[in-house]
Amino acid sequence: MDEFVIRALLAGGGIALLAGPLGSFVVWRRMAYFGDTLAHSALLGVTLGFLLGVNPMIGVMVVCVTLALALVALQRRRNLAADTLLGILSHGSLSLGLVALAFLETLRVDLMAYLFGDILSVTDGDLMAIYGGGAVALTGLALLWRRLLAVTVDEDLARVEGMPVDALRLAFMLLIALVIAIAMKIVGILLITSLLIIPAASARRFARTPEGMAVLASVLGILAVVAGLLASLNWDLPGGPSVVVSAAALFLLGSLVPIRR
């Protein structure tokens, strides 16, 4: 097997592994659109990274976290519904990113790679970012697991039990921002959320425990990466979209399997 294929599999597999548990939380907390909004803002972060001469991943983290905090502040006002606010921030930040990128005439950026991912051009540095960042994110998630579940079930109860609800919510947003920063290269900012929610949604029907759902989501995600990459190589299809199509196909297949309860 060619080296670039192995790197692509390792990168996609690592992202899918991480996306399983985190994506399960996105589904449980009904934050799919929120994840999408953060992902859309990532392009602005990339531009910012280039402008300031820092790693684009750091730019993405900074912009994602800023956006998440802005959203929390806006939601406190309660003048507009959450989905309307998300729509404004999502498309506003994506367009701002595109406009800002156009201003940087001297910069040659493969826009398509950022929007839809370029899994076949993964470098060793990317792999290190994925596995290093992924290890940090998974460790953080494991440490906060029980309390994040409690906050997801009922915030008032968690508060009365003395849990730092706002800090936990912020920590979860940081984890999502981290995943977006490291997954952007693989599936692109337009498709990141699908890798978070499709495997988790597919796993729901077969899971009896939160952990079971998270692990199964990781497995299904890795399967989708492998199937998508093979299809991409065989038929010369775009990598990121092929992975997402595979994940969606697995979801459809899974929903056809009869379950006895």
């Binding site: 029980r146 579940l149 009365v160 939160p210």
Partner: protein, 266 residues
């Protein structure tokens, strides 16, 4: 109602109330939901809050729990008070696969033995492996009781179950809570819409309508004119004894002191 004057440390030493409010005022926008409310729950005491819809019962409970910040006055608790909260309802998202047993273990590190004991004390052992989304409203109330008991509470706070729980289920729940109180000696702060449901199991009733209208033993409050004014025909046939009252109500519901008599706020 007597206003405690002890400091927090002293209250722990001298066995004062578990939790109390001092002139607690809460406003939502321009509406004053709670107006200088003074309530206290003593150890081992069952205190029931009654009052019409929108009287601020739930807000008072949420303020005692620390979920609503006071706009005036304050909420005080004994240091290190353990509070067990049973919300009115709890709907867990269907996407989250969660058994009752697992739900109980989410809130603090607990051993499997303790979970079993709490399931048994609340009478829901047979539901342990059911998904939380599949149990009935009445069953959920008892699961929430089990959850609260796992924290070994000094004070149990519960908002009355809503229509999802039938009358029989409510009576059973209140019996369970009365047993828990007897066995554990914890205080109970309870919200109810109807005095008669909880009358026999309550030590003290506080009739709330933004302010404390009257309070006392259930049989006294049920004869109180303020109680009748709020609940109308419900208890008219009981209006034999007229309780002394130290204030009147202006048209907007504000309290207008009549004279400096002090009786019913005892």
């Amino acid at each position: 109602m007597s206003t405690p004057t002890l400091s927090r440390d002293e209250s722990a030493l001298f066995a004062g109330p578990l939790a109390w409010t001092e002139d607690l005022t809460v406003r939502f926008g321009r509406r004053t939901v709670l107006d200088r409310v003074n309530v206290a729950v003593q150890p081992g005491e069952v205190v029931t809050l009654i009052g019409p819809n929108g009287a601020g019962k739930t807000t008072l409970v949420r303020a005692v729990l620390g979920l609503v910040a006071p706009d005036g006055g304050r909420v005080l608790r004994r240091p290190n008070l353990r509070v067990g909260y049973m919300p009115q309802r709890l709907a867990v998202d269907r996407t989250l696969p969660l058994t009752v047993r697992r739900f109980l273990a989410l809130w603090r590190p607990v051993t499997a033995d303790k979970v079993e004991a709490a399931l048994e004390e609340a009478g829901v052992t047979r539901l342990a492996d059911s998904a939380v989304q599949t149990i009935s409203g009445g069953e959920m109330q008892r699961v929430l009781l089990a959850r609260a008991l796992l924290g070994e509470p000094d004070l149990l706070v519960l908002d009355e179950p809503d229509q999802a729980v039938d009358v029989h289920g409510q009576a059973e729940l209140f019996n369970r809570i009365a047993q828990v109180r007897q066995r554990r000696g914890c205080g109970v702060l309870l919200v109810s819409h109807d005095l008669h449901t909880v009358m026999a199991r309550t030590d003290r009733v506080i009739c709330l309508n933004s302010h404390v209208c009257c309070s006392g033993r259930p049989e006294d409050v049920s004869r109180h004119p303020e109680y009748h004014a709020l609940f109308g025909g419900h208890a008219r046939d009981l209006a034999v004894y007229v309780h002394h009252h130290d204030h009147a109500h202006a048209e907007d519901g504000k309290v207008v002191p009549e004279h400096d008599g002090s009786c019913c706020h005892g």
